[in-house]
Assembly symmetry: C2
Homo-oligomer: 505 residues x 2
């Protein structure tokens, strides 16, 4: 138990309020999950209303007079606290301080505009025309700037800091710019040195279509192997895979299917299980508190990406997994060896779509978005200039001509739901994952033998102990310092990706 | 549009509050639907917390100072109102007046005790032992008595009135006792006159097992035929079939399956579609208001039972449906004619289980529960005496010896969730259905030809126009008076059931 059962009166009161707010937030998550999986089409507007109402109520509760009283008492330091209790109470104070800065009207306007923008983004993407979505995104962007102004710290000079802070606390545009510019330089350098396209032409490709049922069967097998607890979760299908949690006792993942390739289903499942293990691994005593979630989105992504890329795209892993995959799809992989799966699953190639891109070019997709968001939020480019900016950067970084918006600036849903500042987390996740993996390797000198035998639970246990069980009690900075004994850098990742590229190309 | 788009300021304010409360209630309904269909097992306690929190919030909103102010203004009659607006505002006043009588602590204690009782009922039923559940039901019953005392009208002499009023407004134990005692007399009389058991031995029974997929296919076919809109709803599986609505744009039904008999799936679907058509048929202008639901549970049941029993168990209906069913299950029904389906689906027989019972004995199951609840709520029998009372009445009414509690007083979930006063609605539904059917027959002299041709939408249109579109704007009393020009009685039902029995036995 991280939080003891004997609690001060103040902690009990704060917990009661946290529990209520978390229950509302979890209910919103159920409504969201249902929307993506089973909701009938005509219900979009009603569901948007329901979610907006609950979000308004949650805001009302955290900004109530009672919450203000608790915050004052916490700040007056009137009760004895353990370190964990202190951290938990601080999460409440932070949430209060943030929420009190946001006017109720802005919260409700944002919720409504998000729902509208998501709908018009869907249409625009379908019709491949940014113009359809432009006006709604302009409104939302204006509201997000307003939100950023409310949230901005007095010591920040960049409005975009406040939005990044929603996903990755205690970082800044300045800090990220340093890390990302090193990474950009190294990535562009690697990309220019090797002719991936011509080398890829020698790769094997699987035969025949892949049965949907078998893809799900394989997904469930690997999920169990990684330690996903199906009595406390589900696996469903949705257009875009995601993980959502309604408590550590109900963590749901979705995956997607491609008839002609089993990898999207396989790696989507592994990615989401990585997230789900984090949620399922949080200590019981943090249930229904503000600590019952990941430290940050960046750390959360590190937990999915360490599995998806570092572990389950390694040659050691494929020594075991190749047999399993061939057992499920015997007719698709005649004469395939572990090394063929290893190469096939690590193919590097430039492409338009972020979610389909490889470990090397992925970060360039993110850096483009980071640069764009920074200019947009600071009003240095306009919403209507997004397509032009996007397309010129795609040309510059990946040498690609974007022919239609669905392959360009309309591909992601994030901006439509107001998620400015989210994208950097994906790359942060990759950088954290590489750093964490180096620590795991130190603790398990025989890790290669274990992976080649299909042992995965030792990693899950390590991650639970080092990261998962504490939930949000530590900031990303503290966590990475505690684990790797140094701050975030792109070094481990570039070493890792260079080694992988050398072994394949 | 029942409610015009031009609204007084007061109505606008009240609607805003109603919208918020309905959004919370609909969110609770989503949580409930998910719990019964897809939720992983370990999540029961978390889900109970979430539901209890949202219910507490809904109570907080209706009893807020703002609501009190609106109620005062409505009662001061300060705005011009149409009849529909007047009725809508009255629903708000009623809800306020009811909720303000319930202390917040009681609402939250009830929510918690319901969740606990449902869990212990499940175990008790599984282990066939009422004792396991007794203590929890005692606690819940005490809380329900407390609730009834809070809600009781000054002119009521019976505490049970208040609980029945939650499901069927403007009725009373006295009124129901008169109707039910006539019905009991007639039913027992019919039951004693005919030896159903020996006559049933001549009935045909279908061969082979029924494919699950085909049962669902048939369910979807009949649902569409009745007018269920799948773009505004879903059909799923659950242990106990139910209908739930998250707005008229998202109405979900579930059905169940029996491998050896297609009737449970077929009639469960038809029953739930009957409920769903009510919800889907409510006027758009009543969306997110307190009128966006049925007039009462009794009227709601009339809408499911008129389809399940009166229409879709009629000989005319089977003239068409027998061909459809034989087309889906050709191997199960060699040499079956419409009349065989008619007889098979209307078999009368005494049995232990309410939900499996026929149209005649069903009401005796209900009357037993009504009599028991009346004594229990008025503290004239104790919770621990329930099994004995139950078993002696089963012997008296149906001549059956109850050998274990799962076949007796543990069979229904209703008491476990505090639903005292719910059961009478089922029989009221049958009585209303018979009265409504007599009016439909008058309006469509060619109804028999229509049914024999598989035409069902004319009934749906009539029901929508007469009943569905108004939602909760009219009380059951007003509605049945408006439709049938006389008050509730058991006469139409007994005539109907006698005719049916005569045609078969």
């Amino acid at each position: 138990m991280i939080i003891s059962e004997t609690k001060s009166k103040l902690l009990e009161n704060v917990l009661e309020k946290m529990n209520l707010i978390r229950d509302i937030q979890y209910s919103v998550a159920v409504l969201g999950w249902d929307q993506e999986t089973y909701m009938p089409e005509a219900s979009a507007q009603s569901r948007a209303n329901q979610i907006a109402s609950l979000e308004t109520l949650a805001h009302q509760e955290i900004t109530s007079q009672k919450s203000a009283d608790y915050v004052k008492k916490i700040e007056d330091n009137i009760c004895q606290k353990t370190d964990a209790e202190h951290r938990l109470l601080n999460l409440f104070v932070n949430e209060y301080n943030k929420s009190i800065k946001l006017p109720k009207e802005l919260v409700s306007e944002l919720a409504k505009q998000k729902a509208i923008s998501v709908e018009s983004w869907k249409i625009a993407k379908h019709k491949k025309d940014f113009k359809i979505y432009e006006k709604d995104l302009e409104k939302l962007t204006a509201l997000k700037r307003e939100e950023a102004k409310c949230l901005q710290n007095s010591d920040s000079k960049n409005l975009y800091d406040a939005l990044i802070g929603e996903f990755e606390p205690n970082t800044s545009v300045d800090k990220l710019s340093v890390v990302f510019s090193n990474l950009k330089k190294e990535s562009l350098d690697l990309l220019s040195k090797i002719d991936f396209k011509s080398k890829n032409s020698h790769l094997k490709t699987p035969k025949h279509a892949f049965s949907k049922n078998k893809q799900i069967k394989l997904s469930k097998m690997i999920a169990k192997k990684m330690g996903f607890d199906f009595t406390r979760g589900r696996l469903d299908l949705s257009e875009h895979p995601f993980t959502t949690s309604f408590s550590k006792f109900d963590v749901r993942i979705t995956t997607r299917q491609n008839k002609y390739d089993f990898l999207p289903c396989f790696y989507s499942t592994i990615h989401e299980v990585g997230h789900a293990l984090y949620e399922q691994g949080i200590d019981d005593s943090l249930s229904r508190t503000f600590a019952e979630e990941g430290s940050s989105i960046g750390i959360h992504e590190s937990q999915s990406l360490i599995w998806e890329n570092v572990i389950c795209r390694s040659f050691d892993f494929w020594k075991w997994a190749s047999r399993e995959v061939k057992h499920v799809f015997p007719e698709n992989f005649e004469n395939w060896e572990a090394v063929d799966f290893y190469k096939f699953s690590n193919k590097i190639d430039t492409g338009f779509i972020r979610t389909e891109s490889d470990e090397l070019t992925y970060n360039l997709h993110i850096i483009l978005r980071f640069e764009l968001e920074n200019l947009l939020i600071n009003d240095k480019i306009k919403v209507k200039e997004i397509p032009e900016f996007w397309n010129s950067k795609m040309k510059e970084y990946l040498g690609l001509e974007v022919k239609s918006d669905d392959l360009g600036c309309l591909q992601d849903i994030h901006w439509a739901f107001g998620g400015y500042g989210y994208f950097p987390s994906y790359t942060l996740g990759k950088l954290y994952a590489a750093m964490i993996w180096n620590e795991i390797k130190k603790d398990f000198p025989d890790y290669q033998t274990k992976l080649a035998n299909g042992e995965l639970l030792f990693i899950r246990r390590w991650l639970k102990d080092q990261i998962h069980k504490c939930g949000k009690l530590y900031t990303p900075e503290e966590l990475i310092q505690k684990i790797a004994h140094r701050p975030l850098s792109s070094e481990d990742f570039t070493t890792y990706i260079k080694e992988k590229i050398n072994s394949i190309y």
